[in-house]
Symmetry: C2
Subunit: 257 residues, 2 copies
């Protein structure tokens, strides 16, 4: 049974302001919730249909997580998913993660004002796939705990460390031997250029690319060649930010084997 | 000035049933509409704000395209975009495209029940970037003329040929020398396996991968290696369909240079 106050609290967590006040975020759906339950995240409470609770009582008991059984009608009042979900959880937002010291021996993804929640979630999934442990976002990048970002990560959020920093300051603080790669139409062909297996991969925003304050920090301009036979006016803009990230990460990892 | 009948007609085109009756589809936003106007598509009519019409009167006159000036308030009644768009067009759905004969000398992307409009649109953009001229979709793949697909292509829909076919029949009809590549967790590492520069790249659905009737047609199983340090139960599922498409196409094209 769901109280009016609980419904209101859940809806409030769709807004960044209230996520920051309560230091809590939402996650929905069987697969994502299972990943969250098995991760380091501290789950505050679980709202679920009877079926789901029956199947998952072991983990709830072993982790001592409070839960509330709700009806399908009640779930309809709190879910943001278009297809019915059997479970919604509230979890604690952890303290800002510390970039692991190992990360400097590997690739770090740095996102300059990614605005689309689906893109950020997908980029976190790509990082997880390719074993990239750290992502650093500019302060204007969409909030990690936006429910659409959390859903798009498909659980990878539990395995990749994401921090928000002032990018020009962060990039200036790096050891000058660290390469900072950015994609530009005039950059060198990523398939043939030398790539350092460790370094920063900078991804620009969907609408305006890498911002001027950050462009000056790039040490190596690279490009993904287009094989289009027809040259189009603005063809260079036409790979989505998460697609470009996938291709660049794939090429770095290919060299690593 | 917009009539009630026009508003109703525009809204009806958000449903596949009415798109099939009228053989028309919608496109919105400056960039996409410009691409559509410059393409082979026959534009039926344009609804736009005065500003946009002033900037684009040359192309409308030269192509003899009817247009209606509307107010911002009227645009709000017909747009499906969250940020304000200055222009919406209705265009004709062309007759089912014929796969160009050249395509058999190159890569063809074959999509097995891609359901998410954003994924289909993004895959069309990837094909455009990499100069892949043809995409063949299973009959249960999301409709190309779904407004969300059209928007996600960012104009690439004007440059890539997309056909809907019975996949098992189509794949059976191919010359047996044509390789049919599909991604599977147990497939050979795409970075090291031999890849024929022409062939079929088969992409499975978001939820269930390549369907059983189609799996049997695959001649070469390939995989995108994960570099994750933590092995997760269902890690193999965790690349989005459009991300996997991008990585596979990138690797085929890299070999081509």
């Amino acid at each position: 049974m769901l109280s009016r106050k609980q419904v209101k609290h859940i809806h409030s967590l769709r807004q960044k302001k209230f996520r920051e006040i309560h230091r809590q975020f939402l996650a929905e759906g069987s697969k994502l919730v299972t990943e969250i339950l098995e991760s380091q995240y501290k789950v505050v409470t679980v709202y679920a249909l009877a079926d789901w609770l029956n199947r998952n009582e072991n983990i709830l008991h072993s982790k001592n997580i409070p839960f509330t059984e709700i009806s399908k009608g009640e779930m309809d009042r709190i879910t943001a998913l278009s297809s019915p979900s059997p479970v919604l959880v509230i979890a604690e937002i952890p303290a800002t993660p510390i970039i692991p010291a190992t990360a400097i021996h590997d690739i770090i993804l740095v996102l300059d004002d990614i605005k689309d929640p689906g893109n950020l979630g997908t980029i976190i999934r790509i990082a997880d796939w390719f074993g990239i442990e750290s992502i650093i976002c500019s302060e204007n990048t969409v909030d990690l705990y936006n429910p659409k970002v959390i859903q798009a990560t498909m659980g990878s959020v539990a395995r990749v460390s994401v921090a928000y920093l002032n990018l020009p300051e962060f990039l200036s603080s790096l050891d000058p031997v660290i390469k900072i790669y950015g994609t530009f139409p005039e950059g060198e062909n990523i398939y043939s250029v030398k790539l350092d297996p460790k370094g920063i991969i900078l991804i620009g925003s969907e609408s305006s690319g890498i911002s001027p304050e950050v462009v000056s920090k790039v040490t190596d301009k690279i490009s993904i060649p287009s094989y289009a036979t027809v040259t189009v006016r603005d063809h260079a803009e036409s790979l989505n930010a998460s697609i470009a990230t996938a291709i660049v990460c794939s090429e770095f990892r290919r060299r690593k084997r």
